[in-house]
């Protein structure tokens, strides 16, 4: 029996790789990050504490941190709405994408590749066009409204564009591939024999899903929800095209401050606040779901 214990130790032989190549390969990426991420973030940070100068578009650095409080106070409502819409869109996308990814991973057979292409296919059309198309689909003459009216679910006078419903479904629709692909990737990695083993150990279909499939697909769930929630919470296109003025999200406020009111410091402060809030939320989320443990 002692032979068993010795056998495994050798597997973990470590290699010391002193080659400089990995670092050289990092350089282009680091340069890219420095020029297009770190520098802009830094100047955005600087802008966020400036105050308007004499001319329009001229700002003076005064380290006014109250910019943050003012900007936040003036757009609390949109701030909350961004997170609420982002959250709802993420939940809807998860509900649609999980069965889809599951079917592609386990049940699609020879259709697997075609289905994967279909999942990505919407990306061949621009984000803006897709959102406008969604407006058509939900619009007065569109199929959704006519079906709902025929079934008497909504009255003749009710429309569903320019509503929270339209914005949330638009977000869910637009970010669906970001949810589907990571879910597919983690489901596809599950050894089908572990599912057979669960059945062999008296677990029925539902228990197998709850105790084996779902826990093993958690890395995909976490990745998919993050990839959906983060852009959805920061989005402004869907609210612009599909919403009414009462559906504005934080992205719309930032856009307006930058391009319409030319209040750069407030826009910068809001951008930072949004980033910080998302960062805090996802830190809590990943800690809670304990993804590191799973792989």
């Amino acid at each position: 029996m002692a032979a068993f214990r010795g056998a495994s130790a050798k597997v973990f032989g470590l290699k010391d790789n002193k080659s400089a190549l990995p670092y050289l390969l990092l350089i282009p990426g680091l340069l890219w990050l420095a020029i297009f991420f770190i520098v802009p973030i830094f100047s955005l940070g600087q802008m966020s504490t400036k105050v308007p100068g004499a001319d329009i578009g001229e700002f003076v650095q005064e380290y006014r941190f109250s910019n943050y409080i003012d900007a936040f106070n003036s757009s609390k409502e949109q701030f909350l709405r961004s997170f609420l819409y982002g959250l709802l869109a993420t939940i809807i996308a998860l509900a649609i994408a999980y069965p889809l990814a599951y079917a592609i991973a386990f049940k699609s057979g020879k259709w697997k590749n075609i289905l994967l292409v279909l999942v990505v296919a919407p990306f061949f059309v621009s984000f803006l066009l897709r959102t406008i198309a969604w407006k058509q689909i939900l619009g007065e003459e569109g199929p959704v409204v006519s079906v709902l009216r025929t079934l008497n679910i909504i009255s003749v006078n009710t429309s569903i564009t320019s509503s929270a419903f339209a914005v949330v479904t638009g977000l869910a629709y637009n970010f669906l591939p970001f949810m589907t692909l990571p879910l597919y990737a983690s489901l596809e990695r599950i050894d089908p024999r572990t599912l057979e083993a669960a059945g062999d150990l008296y677990a029925n279909g539902f228990t197998t899903f709850r105790k084996v499939t779902l826990p093993l697909s958690m890395p995909g769930v976490v990745a998919g929800t993050l990839l959906t929630f983060i852009p959805a919470a920061g989005d402004y296109i869907n609210a612009t095209i599909l919403g009414s003025p009462s559906n504005k999200m934080l992205g719309n406020v930032i856009e307006a401050r930058f391009f319409k009111i030319v209040d750069y410091p407030a826009a910068a402060a809001l951008s930072f606040t949004l980033m910080a809030a998302i960062l805090i939320l996802i830190t809590i989320y990943t800690k809670r779901t304990g993804t590191e443990e799973l792989v």
């Binding site: 057979e196 150990l201 008296y202 093993l216």
Partner: protein, 376 residues
């Protein structure tokens, strides 16, 4: 209900006319067999012979095209896998990577509504049985192959199934570990007394562990018996060649002498016990295992069946024995294993030799058999 798994009628595993077809191809072809309760049974055959498909049908992971499966009196043919009194040790183990070893083993028990303390007792007991109690809190990927293998066995036997199915369970282990696990599995089987049905393509593994071996080929059972029966009295060329090696020499049955058949091999008459002959007509394949031959330089005295006129065409010394290829007068080579247990000098390539062996060590197959069927 699955809860019954430990209490349901235990008994023999009975397969009746079991068939699994994929289109025109029959992976398992009208297979009938009885595995006695409490035995260690091996399904042995080359890859693609239908042994794994048979096992998966018993486990409920494949649906038979026709036929039925019984455990004792219970027909389990259409039972869902999770209701069968059967557990499986999967190839590559299929442990749950997200659960600890303890939870892996407890998985089946927890599905059956047993109290926490009973689960703990049962898991601890089986971990002690396989001598790995210290691994309870680890995850599968922190274990060596041999350890994972034993956990896979523990996870199955902890449920006390009527039947344990093992699908090439040692295939992923290196040779030394495999030998050790063979002995250990056999020991576990004797210890707990559950029926083991073991699928393997490794004839040595099957012979080491099993009480009864069924040799499968092309979806059918070629022959079933104890390892000794299969080795000493194969009934088909496939079995003769797949289990160990055989020299099969074509001849004509020319008469009979008491308990022996007399067969003419290219002009030389040899005796074959009638009890070990499955020749139906006049033509027969006379089979001699390589280690049953005695080899001597021409002119030495011999007894038993004798074949003269051989010329050594190849010699390999492999320690315990020396393997000779001997070209016979009829142009074919035979294989001879000679134990290195005497002072006799090794015969050189080109030496003229006489082969002899005791009639009792001869078997005969029907002449219509394909000489090279099942050769490695």
């Amino acid at each position: 209900m699955a809860v019954d798994a430990s209490t349901s009628a235990r008994g023999d595993l009975i397969l009746k006319n079991l068939t699994k077809s994929y289109g025109d191809f029959s992976a398992v072809d009208d297979l009938s067999l009885v595995v006695p309760k409490g035995s260690f049974f091996a399904l042995l055959g080359p890859s693609g012979c239908g042994k794994t498909t048979t096992l998966r049908m018993v486990a409920g992971l494949e649906e038979p095209t026709s036929g039925s499966i019984f455990v004792g009196e219970t027909d389990i043919t259409d039972m869902k896998p999770y209701r069968r009194p059967v557990n499986t040790v999967f190839q590559n183990y299929a442990l749950f990577p997200h659960l600890t070893i303890f939870e892996n083993i407890a998985f089946g028990l927890r599905r059956r509504g047993i109290t926490e303390s009973e689960v703990k007792t049962a898991v601890d007991k089986v971990l002690n049985l396989i001598e790995l109690p210290q691994l309870a809190t680890r995850k599968p990927n922190q274990l060596s192959g041999g350890q994972q293998q034993r956990i896979a066995v523990a996870r199955a036997i902890v449920n006390r199934p009527a039947l344990l199915l093992l699908d090439e369970p040692l295939g992923a282990l290196d040779l030394k570990l495999r030998r050790q696990m063979q002995i250990e599995l056999k020991w576990i089987q004797t210890e707990i007394g559950i029926t083991f049905v073991h699928v393997t393509h490794d004839q040595e593994e099957a012979m080491t562990m099993a009480d009864t071996i069924a040799v499968m080929n092309k979806g059918k059972i070629e022959q079933m018996g104890t390892p000794e029966e299969l080795y000493d009295s194969p009934k088909t060329a496939f079995v003769a060649n797949f289990l160990g090696q055989s020299n099969l020499i074509p001849g004509e049955v020319s008469g009979s002498d008491g308990d022996n058949l007399i067969v003419d091999l290219f002009g030389t008459k040899v005796a074959v016990p009638k009890a070990r002959s499955s020749a139906r007509g006049n033509s027969a394949l006379v089979g001699v295992r390589p280690e049953k031959f005695r080899i001597a330089a021409e002119g030495k005295s011999t007894h038993g069946n004798v074949l003269t006129g051989g010329v050594v065409s190849d010699v390999s010394y492999i320690g315990v024995s020396t393997q000779y290829q001997v070209e016979m007068p009829w142009g074919k080579e035979v294989m001879v294993f000679e134990q290195n247990d005497d002072e006799e000098e090794m015969l050189r390539k080109g030496a003229k030799v006489v082969l002899s062996w005791e009639p009792i060590f001869t078997f005969a197959l029907d002449g219509s058999e394909n000489v090279s069927a099942g050769s490695h």
